[in-house]
């Protein structure tokens, strides 16, 4: 058994629920240290303890370079064998910087990890294959794709500590400003359910019918590249090879042909539903449930049926 660190990500709602799956993954390896940047929040220990965190370590540091440097110090201080975190936008950036500081091997967007052998599962070739990667080093760093490991409660006695690491001097990088997107929106990559619109959406306005359905499902709304390129949806909503990679438990594709590049971003979803007017559309050859029909009829009917539940 060894010491495993987990970087904890928060947003305006506090702890991201997807963190708990990462903690569960860490728990398999031994003593779990949760790294929380003090600026991100203080009252998290109770929730983290429920999933088995042994020590909550509050870290100093502002900006990506400082944070990576401080976290690397903490990894050394607590003699961790592995540092885990969510492979979100922020996670990928922070874990990559931290792995460079530690000169440690790094796997991002992993879909599984064996802490004992240092092997990681991850997608290669845009989701067409799964590679088993062996990492070699004194410390390993790994970012896990959100939702790939189911969180399990494992209450532990949690201790809080504060750790101060070195902050480098002028590092040549300054954060000038954060521009908020549409506030309050859940990030696609962390959604449990996603409903996506394809080319026939035909306008930004029509996405409303997906949003109404999403509200009933507790889902986030995605878009295909065809709709993004046509200006119906922002790129932050694009799923696929040049958009986001997602693994929700339910993915509902409305008016998607089922292109290889779109599937590269969502084929690891647990259940995929296709809604398409063309019974020969490729999507019906590679999804779980198919509805041959006009999305402008099927989606509102689905919304109504969900409301009635």
């Amino acid at each position: 058994m060894s010491n495993i660190g987990v970087w904890i990500e928060t947003d305006h709602n506090g702890l991201k629920p997807a963190n708990f799956g990462v903690v569960t993954a860490a728990k398999a390896g031994g003593t779990v240290y949760a790294f929380v940047f003090s600026e991100d929040g203080r009252n998290l220990s109770e929730e983290l303890g429920r999933y088995g965190v042994d020590k909550v370590v509050f870290l100093n540091g502002d900006g990506p370079v400082e944070r990576a440097s401080v976290m690397a110090d903490a990894v050394r201080e607590y003699k961790l064998s592995t540092l885990l975190g969510l492979s979100s936008f922020k996670g990928r950036d922070l874990l990559a910087r931290c792995a460079c500081e530690l000169e440690a091997p790094l796997a991002l967007d992993a879909t599984g990890i064996d802490l004992e052998t240092g092997t990681v599962l991850k997608s290669h070739f845009s989701g067409k294959t799964t590679a088993t990667i062996v990492l070699k080093g004194d410390v390993l760093v790994c970012g896990l794709r959100p939702n790939v490991i189911e969180a399990q409660e494992a209450p532990a006695e949690t201790e809080e500590v504060v750790f101060s690491g070195n902050v480098p001097g002028d590092d040549g990088l300054k954060v000038l400003e954060v521009k908020k997107g549409e506030s309050g929106k859940q990030d696609l990559t962390e959604a449990d359910i996603i409903i996506t619109g394809g080319r026939p959406m035909d306008s930004a306005d029509n996405f409303k019918i997906l949003e109404e359905c999403a509200e009933q499902l507790g889902a986030a709304v995605g878009a295909s590249r065809a709709t993004v390129d046509a200006g119906f949806a922002p790129h932050s909503m694009q799923v696929g090879q040049t958009g986001k990679t997602v693994s929700p438990k339910l993915y509902i594709g409305c008016g998607l042909s089922g292109s290889v590049q779109h599937f590269a971003g969502m084929k690891t979803s647990k259940v995929i539903v296709g809604i398409n007017t063309d019974k020969d559309a490729p999507i019906f050859g590679k999804c779980d449930y198919g509805i041959e029909g006009d999305l402008f009829e099927v989606v509102p009917a689905l919304t109504d049926a969900l409301k009635a539940r």
């Binding site: 062996v134 859940q186 779980d288 449930y289 689905l302 049926a305």
Partner: protein, 255 residues
């Protein structure tokens, strides 16, 4: 201004990948420039057209990677550097060391453009490793940039549609993503002209890079099976929707 663009030679994303043996794949498929590197290249070419200077495309890989350098030259890079290695490394630290040494040997950079990730090994880190080796700042997922005196101001995605505005001192490394620009398609005359542009070859021992063990290796590659055909629901729209909800909650247990 001296711009470098790191480009990787990868299988076309439309190609199907046939696994061979434990951890290899059939490489007779079509190879192309890594799609994200196209945004990096386009940006370098546009900046050079605006400010003057030179664009150098560089790749680490087998001899066949020269095809990707040629396509970079057709899009507007002035010359290419091929660092020959038996194959591309999975160990991004090694790739970064080769890139850094070659760039330094070639005279050093003002700005280095890379893609945010390669679509074959999906490492998402070579740009960070390169920046660390060269001791310069790095930003990833860059969707817009402005060059100013000795500094670059970029916007990059940080999730949920939010963007961060960053200032980096130059030289620096930038990881490009979709949205930064619209990569151009080379025209026939440009493709012909590209054949005459110089490509310099270097190998790892020219660069003084010792052959060290990889810190990451692929032990196994497994084709991810496509799902079979869908269970098609039938009846009126209302019937199908009702059946879908039933099946999603009882059979699939996701609702």
């Amino acid at each position: 201004m001296k711009f470098y663009v790191c480009v990787k030679h990868v299988p076309d994303t439309a190609a199907s990948i046939k696994v061979m043996g434990d951890a290899d794949y059939d490489k007779t498929v079509k190879f192309v420039m890594n799609p994200y590197d196209e945004y990096a290249l386009e940006e370098a070419v546009q900046q050079k057209q605006a400010l003057g200077g030179e664009v150098v495309a560089i790749t680490v890989g087998g001899k066949e990677s020269v095809a990707t350098l040629r396509s970079a030259l057709a899009v507007g890079a002035d010359r290419g550097i091929l660092v020959t290695a038996g194959t591309v490394f999975l160990d991004s630290g090694k790739t970064a060391q080769a890139l850094a040494t070659a760039i330094e040997k070639d005279g050093g950079a003002d700005l280095i453009f890379m893609g945010k990730q390669s679509v074959d090994t999906e490492g998402m880190q070579t740009h960070y490793r390169l920046a660390k080796t060269m001791k310069v700042p790095v930003a990833n997922e860059v969707v817009s940039l402005t060059l100013e005196e000795g500094r670059v101001v970029v916007e990059h995605e940080v999730g949920a549609g939010d963007r961060e505005v960053l200032e980096l001192s130059m030289p620096c490394v930038l990881g490009a993503t979709k949205g930064l620009n619209e990569p151009r398609y080379p025209k026939l005359p440009d493709i012909l002209k590209a054949k005459k542009k110089p490509i310099q070859e270097m190998n790892l021992s020219d660069l003084g890079i010792a052959d060290q063990a990889d810190t990451a290796t692929v032990a196994k590659l497994l084709a991810l099976p496509e799902r079979g055909a869908a269970t098609m629901l039938s009846g009126s729209v209302e019937d199908m929707v009702k059946e879908l909800i039933d099946r999603l909650s009882t059979e699939a247990e996701v609702l």
